[in-house]
Protein backbone atom coordinates (compact mmCIF):
# COMPACT_ATOMS: atom_id res chain seq x y z
CA UNK A 1 0.00 0.00 0.00
CA UNK A 2 1.52 3.36 -0.94
CA UNK A 3 2.56 5.79 1.77
CA UNK A 4 2.40 9.31 0.49
CA UNK A 5 4.40 12.40 1.38
CA UNK A 6 3.55 15.88 0.16
CA UNK A 7 6.23 17.08 -2.23
CA UNK A 8 4.78 20.05 -3.96
CA UNK A 9 1.65 21.58 -5.38
CA UNK A 10 -0.90 18.80 -5.64
CA UNK A 11 1.67 16.06 -5.83
CA UNK A 12 2.27 13.28 -3.41
CA UNK A 13 5.13 10.83 -3.46
CA UNK A 14 4.93 7.27 -2.28
CA UNK A 15 7.97 7.00 -0.02
CA UNK A 16 8.09 3.25 -0.46
CA UNK A 17 8.11 2.84 -4.24
CA UNK A 18 8.97 6.44 -5.19
CA UNK A 19 6.06 6.59 -7.59
CA UNK A 20 4.28 9.88 -7.57
CA UNK A 21 0.60 10.51 -7.69
CA UNK A 22 -1.25 13.73 -8.27
CA UNK A 23 -3.79 13.71 -5.46
CA UNK A 24 -5.91 16.58 -6.64
CA UNK A 25 -6.60 17.89 -10.10
CA UNK A 26 -8.22 21.10 -8.96
CA UNK A 27 -5.56 23.08 -10.69
CA UNK A 28 -6.20 21.37 -14.00
CA UNK A 29 -7.92 23.51 -16.55
CA UNK A 30 -10.60 21.08 -17.61
CA UNK A 31 -13.01 23.62 -18.98
CA UNK A 32 -10.94 25.32 -21.65
CA UNK A 33 -10.39 22.75 -24.39
CA UNK A 34 -8.07 23.59 -27.25
CA UNK A 35 -6.34 26.25 -25.24
CA UNK A 36 -3.24 24.41 -24.20
CA UNK A 37 0.34 24.50 -25.27
CA UNK A 38 3.08 21.91 -25.17
CA UNK A 39 6.83 22.16 -25.55
CA UNK A 40 8.44 19.25 -27.35
CA UNK A 41 12.00 18.04 -27.03
CA UNK A 42 13.05 17.77 -30.67
CA UNK A 43 16.22 15.82 -31.35
CA UNK A 44 15.57 15.66 -35.08
CA UNK A 45 15.00 11.93 -34.97
CA UNK A 46 11.88 10.03 -35.91
CA UNK A 47 10.53 9.47 -32.40
CA UNK A 48 10.45 13.10 -31.36
CA UNK A 49 8.94 13.95 -34.73
CA UNK A 50 6.16 11.39 -34.29
CA UNK A 51 5.48 12.30 -30.67
CA UNK A 52 5.01 15.92 -31.68
CA UNK A 53 2.83 15.01 -34.62
CA UNK A 54 0.57 12.92 -32.39
CA UNK A 55 -0.06 15.90 -30.12
CA UNK A 56 -0.44 18.38 -32.97
CA UNK A 57 -3.13 16.12 -34.40
CA UNK A 58 -5.10 16.70 -31.21
CA UNK A 59 -5.16 20.44 -31.75
CA UNK A 60 -2.54 21.31 -29.17
CA UNK A 61 -0.18 24.20 -29.96
CA UNK A 62 3.37 22.85 -29.86
CA UNK A 63 6.76 24.51 -30.05
CA UNK A 64 10.02 22.63 -30.09
CA UNK A 65 13.24 22.99 -28.18
CA UNK A 66 16.60 21.47 -29.02
CA UNK A 67 19.54 21.43 -26.65
CA UNK A 68 23.09 21.90 -27.89
CA UNK A 69 25.48 20.05 -25.61
CA UNK A 70 28.46 19.95 -27.96
CA UNK A 71 28.32 16.18 -28.28
CA UNK A 72 25.87 15.98 -31.17
CA UNK A 73 26.85 13.51 -33.88
CA UNK A 74 25.15 15.12 -36.83
CA UNK A 75 25.75 18.55 -38.15
CA UNK A 76 29.34 18.91 -37.11
CA UNK A 77 30.38 15.63 -38.56
CA UNK A 78 28.52 16.20 -41.80
CA UNK A 79 29.95 19.67 -42.16
CA UNK A 80 33.51 18.50 -41.62
CA UNK A 81 33.72 15.44 -43.84
CA UNK A 82 34.08 16.60 -47.44
CA UNK A 83 32.78 13.35 -48.85
CA UNK A 84 29.44 14.23 -47.31
CA UNK A 85 29.20 17.44 -49.32
CA UNK A 86 27.41 15.70 -52.17
CA UNK A 87 24.55 14.93 -49.79
CA UNK A 88 22.20 17.71 -48.82
CA UNK A 89 23.13 19.12 -45.46
CA UNK A 90 20.45 19.91 -42.98
CA UNK A 91 19.99 20.35 -39.30
CA UNK A 92 17.47 17.62 -38.63
CA UNK A 93 15.86 19.34 -35.66
CA UNK A 94 15.17 22.40 -37.82
CA UNK A 95 13.98 20.21 -40.65
CA UNK A 96 11.54 18.36 -38.37
CA UNK A 97 10.21 21.67 -37.07
CA UNK A 98 9.65 22.94 -40.59
CA UNK A 99 7.93 19.72 -41.65
CA UNK A 100 5.60 19.91 -38.67
CA UNK A 101 5.05 23.65 -39.00
CA UNK A 102 6.22 24.48 -35.50
CA UNK A 103 8.73 26.93 -34.08
CA UNK A 104 12.03 25.57 -32.81
CA UNK A 105 14.14 27.16 -30.10
CA UNK A 106 17.77 26.20 -29.69
CA UNK A 107 19.12 26.22 -26.19
CA UNK A 108 22.88 26.35 -25.72
CA UNK A 109 23.65 24.23 -22.64
CA UNK A 110 27.34 23.58 -23.27
CA UNK A 111 28.48 24.95 -19.92
CA UNK A 112 25.63 23.61 -17.79
CA UNK A 113 25.98 20.18 -19.37
CA UNK A 114 29.55 19.78 -18.16
CA UNK A 115 28.35 18.77 -14.72
CA UNK A 116 26.22 16.05 -16.27
CA UNK A 117 29.12 14.60 -18.23
CA UNK A 118 31.74 14.95 -15.54
CA UNK A 119 29.79 13.68 -12.55
CA UNK A 120 26.52 11.99 -13.44
CA UNK A 121 24.46 10.97 -10.43
CA UNK A 122 23.26 7.81 -12.13
CA UNK A 123 26.58 6.96 -13.70
CA UNK A 124 27.51 6.19 -17.27
CA UNK A 125 26.13 3.68 -19.71
CA UNK A 126 28.31 1.39 -21.80
CA UNK A 127 30.64 4.25 -22.72
CA UNK A 128 30.73 7.84 -21.44
CA UNK A 129 27.02 8.35 -21.90
CA UNK A 130 25.22 9.71 -18.82
CA UNK A 131 21.86 9.09 -20.44
CA UNK A 132 19.63 9.07 -17.37
CA UNK A 133 21.13 12.26 -15.97
CA UNK A 134 21.06 13.76 -19.44
CA UNK A 135 17.39 13.09 -19.95
CA UNK A 136 16.56 14.43 -16.51
CA UNK A 137 18.59 17.54 -17.21
CA UNK A 138 16.92 18.19 -20.54
CA UNK A 139 13.43 17.68 -19.20
CA UNK A 140 14.29 19.99 -16.30
CA UNK A 141 15.42 22.66 -18.76
CA UNK A 142 12.25 22.04 -20.75
CA UNK A 143 10.22 22.56 -17.59
CA UNK A 144 11.96 25.89 -17.00
CA UNK A 145 11.19 26.93 -20.56
CA UNK A 146 7.60 25.76 -20.17
CA UNK A 147 7.12 27.89 -17.07
CA UNK A 148 8.84 30.94 -18.52
CA UNK A 149 6.69 30.86 -21.64
CA UNK A 150 3.46 29.81 -19.89
CA UNK A 151 3.15 26.50 -21.67
CA UNK A 152 1.27 23.64 -20.05
CA UNK A 153 3.18 20.41 -20.50
CA UNK A 154 6.23 18.76 -22.01
CA UNK A 155 6.37 16.00 -24.59
CA UNK A 156 9.22 13.72 -25.55
CA UNK A 157 9.61 10.91 -28.05
CA UNK A 158 10.66 8.41 -25.43
CA UNK A 159 9.59 4.81 -25.95
CA UNK A 160 9.67 2.45 -22.99
CA UNK A 161 12.38 -0.12 -23.34
CA UNK A 162 13.93 1.37 -26.42
CA UNK A 163 17.11 2.74 -24.87
CA UNK A 164 18.95 0.61 -22.33
CA UNK A 165 19.50 3.31 -19.76
CA UNK A 166 17.08 6.23 -19.74
CA UNK A 167 14.08 4.47 -21.21
CA UNK A 168 13.84 1.46 -18.93
CA UNK A 169 10.48 1.16 -17.29
CA UNK A 170 11.86 1.97 -13.85
CA UNK A 171 13.96 4.87 -15.19
CA UNK A 172 11.13 6.85 -16.71
CA UNK A 173 9.57 7.89 -13.38
CA UNK A 174 13.03 8.95 -12.23
CA UNK A 175 13.27 11.38 -15.14
CA UNK A 176 9.85 12.82 -14.41
CA UNK A 177 10.61 13.19 -10.73
CA UNK A 178 14.16 14.47 -10.79
CA UNK A 179 13.41 16.98 -13.52
CA UNK A 180 10.58 18.40 -11.47
CA UNK A 181 8.20 17.93 -14.38
CA UNK A 182 6.28 15.11 -12.68
CA UNK A 183 3.01 14.51 -14.47
CA UNK A 184 3.42 17.42 -16.86
CA UNK A 185 5.78 15.15 -18.79
CA UNK A 186 3.92 13.25 -21.48
CA UNK A 187 5.41 10.51 -23.65
CA UNK A 188 2.84 10.15 -26.46
CA UNK A 189 4.42 7.10 -28.04
CA UNK A 190 4.19 4.98 -24.87
CA UNK A 191 1.76 6.92 -22.70
CA UNK A 192 -0.72 4.07 -22.51
CA UNK A 193 1.88 1.97 -20.72
CA UNK A 194 2.39 4.65 -18.10
CA UNK A 195 0.31 6.27 -15.40
CA UNK A 196 -2.00 8.88 -16.93
CA UNK A 197 -0.41 12.30 -16.85
CA UNK A 198 -2.06 15.61 -16.10
CA UNK A 199 -2.77 16.47 -19.78
CA UNK A 200 -4.57 13.15 -20.12
CA UNK A 201 -6.51 13.28 -16.89
CA UNK A 202 -7.52 16.87 -17.51
CA UNK A 203 -8.74 16.05 -20.99
CA UNK A 204 -6.28 18.30 -22.78
CA UNK A 205 -5.25 15.25 -24.80
CA UNK A 206 -7.18 12.10 -25.55
CA UNK A 207 -5.31 9.16 -24.04
CA UNK A 208 -7.04 6.79 -26.44
CA UNK A 209 -5.24 8.47 -29.32
CA UNK A 210 -1.85 7.93 -27.71
CA UNK A 211 0.26 4.84 -28.14
CA UNK A 212 1.76 1.88 -26.28
CA UNK A 213 5.02 1.38 -28.17
CA UNK A 214 7.73 -0.48 -26.31
CA UNK A 215 10.92 -2.37 -26.91
CA UNK A 216 13.83 -2.01 -29.30
CA UNK A 217 11.95 -2.62 -32.54
CA UNK A 218 11.50 0.40 -34.80
CA UNK A 219 8.63 -1.11 -36.74
CA UNK A 220 5.80 0.57 -34.82
CA UNK A 221 7.36 3.98 -35.33
CA UNK A 222 8.01 3.36 -39.01
CA UNK A 223 4.43 2.19 -39.48
CA UNK A 224 3.14 5.31 -37.77
CA UNK A 225 5.39 7.43 -39.96
CA UNK A 226 3.92 5.83 -43.07
CA UNK A 227 0.46 6.46 -41.71
CA UNK A 228 1.29 10.16 -41.37
CA UNK A 229 2.85 10.20 -44.82
CA UNK A 230 6.31 10.78 -43.37
CA UNK A 231 8.80 9.14 -45.70
CA UNK A 232 11.95 11.06 -44.92
CA UNK A 233 13.52 11.18 -41.49
CA UNK A 234 16.89 11.05 -39.80
CA UNK A 235 18.32 7.76 -38.53
CA UNK A 236 15.49 6.30 -36.54
CA UNK A 237 17.24 5.02 -33.46
CA UNK A 238 19.86 6.47 -31.13
CA UNK A 239 23.37 7.27 -32.28
CA UNK A 240 22.79 10.98 -31.94
CA UNK A 241 25.37 11.55 -29.21
CA UNK A 242 29.10 11.01 -29.40
CA UNK A 243 29.19 9.99 -25.76
CA UNK A 244 27.62 6.66 -26.70
CA UNK A 245 30.46 5.96 -29.14
CA UNK A 246 33.23 3.79 -27.71
CA UNK A 247 35.97 5.40 -29.81
CA UNK A 248 34.92 8.91 -28.83
CA UNK A 249 34.63 7.80 -25.22
CA UNK A 250 38.19 6.47 -25.38
CA UNK A 251 39.41 9.85 -26.62
CA UNK A 252 37.53 11.74 -23.93
CA UNK A 253 38.90 9.41 -21.25
CA UNK A 254 42.39 9.95 -22.63
CA UNK A 255 41.88 13.70 -22.50
CA UNK A 256 40.89 13.60 -18.85
CA UNK A 257 43.60 11.12 -17.91
CA UNK A 258 46.28 13.21 -19.58
CA UNK A 259 45.12 16.42 -17.95
CA UNK A 260 44.64 14.80 -14.59
CA UNK A 261 41.16 16.25 -14.17
CA UNK A 262 37.73 15.89 -15.61
CA UNK A 263 37.07 19.08 -17.50
CA UNK A 264 36.69 20.25 -21.09
CA UNK A 265 35.98 23.19 -23.29
CA UNK A 266 33.96 23.18 -26.51
CA UNK A 267 37.13 23.20 -28.59
CA UNK A 268 38.32 20.02 -26.87
CA UNK A 269 35.19 18.03 -27.57
CA UNK A 270 35.02 19.33 -31.12
CA UNK A 271 38.55 18.15 -31.88
CA UNK A 272 37.77 14.71 -30.47
CA UNK A 273 35.28 14.27 -33.30
CA UNK A 274 37.86 14.83 -36.01
CA UNK A 275 40.76 12.85 -37.39
CA UNK A 276 42.93 10.03 -36.15
CA UNK A 277 44.18 10.52 -32.64
CA UNK A 278 47.53 9.00 -31.76
CA UNK A 279 49.58 9.34 -28.60
CA UNK A 280 53.17 8.40 -29.45
CA UNK A 281 54.37 9.70 -26.08
CA UNK A 282 52.48 10.25 -22.84
CA UNK A 283 53.01 14.00 -23.10
CA UNK A 284 51.83 14.69 -26.64
CA UNK A 285 49.09 13.62 -29.02
CA UNK A 286 48.65 13.95 -32.77
CA UNK A 287 45.33 14.70 -34.42
CA UNK A 288 45.70 13.73 -38.09
CA UNK A 289 43.12 14.65 -40.71
CA UNK A 290 41.73 11.76 -42.69
CA UNK A 291 40.48 13.71 -45.69
CA UNK A 292 40.19 17.20 -47.15
CA UNK A 293 37.26 18.32 -45.06
CA UNK A 294 38.98 17.32 -41.83
CA UNK A 295 42.21 18.94 -42.97
CA UNK A 296 40.37 22.21 -43.60
CA UNK A 297 38.74 21.97 -40.20
CA UNK A 298 42.04 21.32 -38.43
CA UNK A 299 43.61 24.23 -40.31
CA UNK A 300 41.22 26.48 -38.47
CA UNK A 301 43.00 25.59 -35.23
CA UNK A 302 46.54 25.86 -36.49
CA UNK A 303 47.22 29.17 -34.72
CA UNK A 304 46.75 27.50 -31.33
CA UNK A 305 48.60 24.25 -31.87
CA UNK A 306 51.87 23.03 -33.28
CA UNK A 307 50.83 21.89 -36.72
CA UNK A 308 52.38 19.63 -39.29
CA UNK A 309 51.78 19.12 -42.98
CA UNK A 310 53.58 17.29 -45.73
CA UNK A 311 55.20 19.30 -48.52
CA UNK A 312 56.67 16.79 -50.96
CA UNK A 313 53.58 14.58 -51.13
CA UNK A 314 49.85 15.03 -50.72
CA UNK A 315 49.04 14.42 -47.12
CA UNK A 316 47.11 15.29 -44.02
CA UNK A 317 47.12 18.30 -41.78
CA UNK A 318 47.99 17.34 -38.24
CA UNK A 319 47.82 19.14 -34.93
CA UNK A 320 50.13 18.33 -32.05
CA UNK A 321 48.60 18.74 -28.63
CA UNK A 322 51.01 18.74 -25.71
CA UNK A 323 54.73 19.35 -25.49
CA UNK A 324 57.32 18.08 -27.92
CA UNK A 325 61.07 18.59 -28.16
CA UNK A 326 63.05 18.30 -31.37
CA UNK A 327 63.20 14.52 -31.16
CA UNK A 328 59.46 14.35 -30.61
CA UNK A 329 58.79 16.68 -33.53
CA UNK A 330 60.79 14.44 -35.82
CA UNK A 331 58.85 11.42 -34.61
CA UNK A 332 55.59 13.29 -35.12
CA UNK A 333 56.65 14.20 -38.66
CA UNK A 334 57.43 10.55 -39.39
CA UNK A 335 53.99 9.54 -38.15
CA UNK A 336 52.27 12.19 -40.29
CA UNK A 337 54.34 11.12 -43.30
CA UNK A 338 53.06 7.59 -42.78
CA UNK A 339 49.53 8.87 -43.54
CA UNK A 340 50.55 10.77 -46.65
CA UNK A 341 50.87 9.76 -50.28
CA UNK A 342 54.58 9.38 -49.58
CA UNK A 343 54.14 6.57 -47.08
CA UNK A 344 56.24 4.22 -49.23
CA UNK A 345 58.75 6.86 -50.30
CA UNK A 346 62.31 6.82 -48.93
CA UNK A 347 61.83 10.38 -47.64
CA UNK A 348 59.03 12.91 -47.18
CA UNK A 349 59.48 16.64 -46.72
CA UNK A 350 57.39 17.85 -43.80
CA UNK A 351 56.68 21.38 -42.61
CA UNK A 352 56.34 21.96 -38.88
CA UNK A 353 55.09 25.19 -37.29
CA UNK A 354 55.45 25.43 -33.55
CA UNK A 355 53.08 27.49 -31.42
CA UNK A 356 55.65 30.27 -30.99
CA UNK A 357 55.63 30.73 -34.74
CA UNK A 358 58.93 29.02 -35.38
CA UNK A 359 58.88 26.88 -38.48
CA UNK A 360 61.12 24.15 -39.78
CA UNK A 361 61.20 21.77 -42.68
CA UNK A 362 62.23 18.20 -42.03
CA UNK A 363 63.11 15.37 -44.36
CA UNK A 364 61.87 12.24 -42.64
CA UNK A 365 61.50 8.56 -43.35
CA UNK A 366 57.85 7.68 -42.91
CA UNK A 367 57.16 5.16 -40.20
CA UNK A 368 55.97 1.82 -41.48
CA UNK A 369 52.71 0.37 -40.35
CA UNK A 370 54.56 -2.03 -38.07
CA UNK A 371 56.36 0.84 -36.42
CA UNK A 372 53.15 2.43 -35.22
CA UNK A 373 51.98 0.32 -32.26
CA UNK A 374 48.29 -0.22 -31.81
CA UNK A 375 48.69 1.26 -28.35
CA UNK A 376 49.38 4.66 -29.88
CA UNK A 377 45.89 4.85 -31.34
CA UNK A 378 43.23 6.44 -29.16
CA UNK A 379 39.88 5.08 -30.20
CA UNK A 380 39.65 3.72 -33.73
CA UNK A 381 42.70 3.52 -35.98
Amino acid sequence: MPVFAHIGDFHYLCIICYDYRPLLDNHADKNMPGNHKAVALISGGLDSMLATKVILEQGIHVEGINFFTGFCVEGHTHAIRKKSHSQPKRNNALWVAEQLGIKLHFIDVIDEYKGIVINPKHGYGANMNPCLDCKGFMVKKAKQWMEEHRFDFIITGEVMGQRPMSQRKNAMPIVARESGAYDRLLRPLCARLLTPTLPERAGWVDREQLFDFSGRSRKPQMALARQYGINDYAQPAGGCCFLTNEHYAAKLSDLWLTRGRKEYELEDIMLLKVGRHLRPRPYFKLIIGREEGENNFLNGYRQRYTHIRTLSHEGPTALLEGHADNTDLKLAAQVVARFSQGRMAPSVKVHVTVTNGETRTLDVVPLSNNEIPASWYIGAA
Binding site: N66, F68, C72, E74, G75, H76, H78, A79, I80, H85, P88, K89, R90, N91, A93, L94, W95, A97, E98, I102, K103, L104, H105, F106, D108, M270, G300
Partner: protein, 80 residues
Protein backbone atom coordinates in the same frame (compact mmCIF):
# COMPACT_ATOMS: atom_id res chain seq x y z
CA UNK B 1 19.94 45.34 -51.58
CA UNK B 2 18.29 48.64 -50.72
CA UNK B 3 18.57 50.00 -47.21
CA UNK B 4 15.60 52.00 -46.09
CA UNK B 5 15.57 54.88 -43.65
CA UNK B 6 15.21 53.68 -40.07
CA UNK B 7 16.60 50.24 -40.87
CA UNK B 8 19.43 49.39 -38.49
CA UNK B 9 22.22 47.26 -39.91
CA UNK B 10 23.90 44.63 -37.75
CA UNK B 11 26.59 42.07 -38.41
CA UNK B 12 27.38 38.69 -36.89
CA UNK B 13 30.65 36.84 -37.37
CA UNK B 14 29.87 33.14 -37.23
CA UNK B 15 32.93 32.00 -39.12
CA UNK B 16 34.64 28.79 -38.01
CA UNK B 17 31.51 27.73 -36.13
CA UNK B 18 29.82 24.51 -37.09
CA UNK B 19 26.19 23.49 -37.06
CA UNK B 20 24.19 24.32 -35.09
CA UNK B 21 26.24 27.15 -33.62
CA UNK B 22 25.73 29.55 -36.57
CA UNK B 23 21.98 29.10 -36.19
CA UNK B 24 22.12 29.48 -32.41
CA UNK B 25 24.18 32.66 -32.65
CA UNK B 26 21.80 34.00 -35.28
CA UNK B 27 18.79 33.13 -33.15
CA UNK B 28 20.20 34.83 -30.08
CA UNK B 29 21.24 37.92 -31.99
CA UNK B 30 17.88 38.23 -33.73
CA UNK B 31 16.18 38.36 -30.33
CA UNK B 32 17.88 41.69 -29.72
CA UNK B 33 16.80 43.28 -33.01
CA UNK B 34 13.80 45.43 -33.72
CA UNK B 35 11.33 44.81 -36.51
CA UNK B 36 12.86 45.90 -39.78
CA UNK B 37 16.45 45.65 -38.63
CA UNK B 38 18.88 43.80 -40.85
CA UNK B 39 21.45 41.26 -39.74
CA UNK B 40 24.28 40.08 -41.96
CA UNK B 41 25.63 36.73 -40.82
CA UNK B 42 29.01 35.59 -42.10
CA UNK B 43 29.66 31.84 -41.88
CA UNK B 44 32.03 29.23 -43.16
CA UNK B 45 29.87 26.19 -42.35
CA UNK B 46 28.40 24.99 -45.66
CA UNK B 47 25.30 23.79 -43.83
CA UNK B 48 24.43 27.33 -42.83
CA UNK B 49 23.28 28.02 -46.37
CA UNK B 50 20.30 25.78 -45.66
CA UNK B 51 20.00 25.98 -41.89
CA UNK B 52 19.77 29.72 -41.41
CA UNK B 53 17.12 30.26 -44.10
CA UNK B 54 15.20 27.31 -42.65
CA UNK B 55 15.36 28.88 -39.20
CA UNK B 56 14.12 32.15 -40.70
CA UNK B 57 11.17 30.46 -42.40
CA UNK B 58 10.20 28.69 -39.19
CA UNK B 59 10.40 31.83 -37.11
CA UNK B 60 8.93 34.26 -39.60
CA UNK B 61 11.98 36.25 -40.62
CA UNK B 62 13.04 37.03 -44.17
CA UNK B 63 16.29 36.21 -45.92
CA UNK B 64 16.86 39.10 -48.29
CA UNK B 65 20.21 38.07 -49.70
CA UNK B 66 22.86 35.36 -49.80
CA UNK B 67 26.37 35.76 -51.16
CA UNK B 68 29.38 33.49 -51.25
CA UNK B 69 32.95 34.76 -51.40
CA UNK B 70 35.76 32.22 -51.36
CA UNK B 71 34.78 29.99 -48.46
CA UNK B 72 32.64 32.57 -46.67
CA UNK B 73 28.87 32.74 -46.86
CA UNK B 74 27.04 35.97 -46.08
CA UNK B 75 23.35 35.68 -45.31
CA UNK B 76 21.31 38.87 -44.89
CA UNK B 77 18.20 38.63 -42.76
CA UNK B 78 15.46 41.15 -42.08
CA UNK B 79 13.80 40.91 -38.69
CA UNK B 80 10.02 40.70 -39.02
Amino acid sequence: MVYRRGMTHHTLDARHLLCPLPVIRTQNRMKTLNKGDVLVVTCTDPGAVNDIPMWCRINGHTVIGTATTNNEIMITIRSE
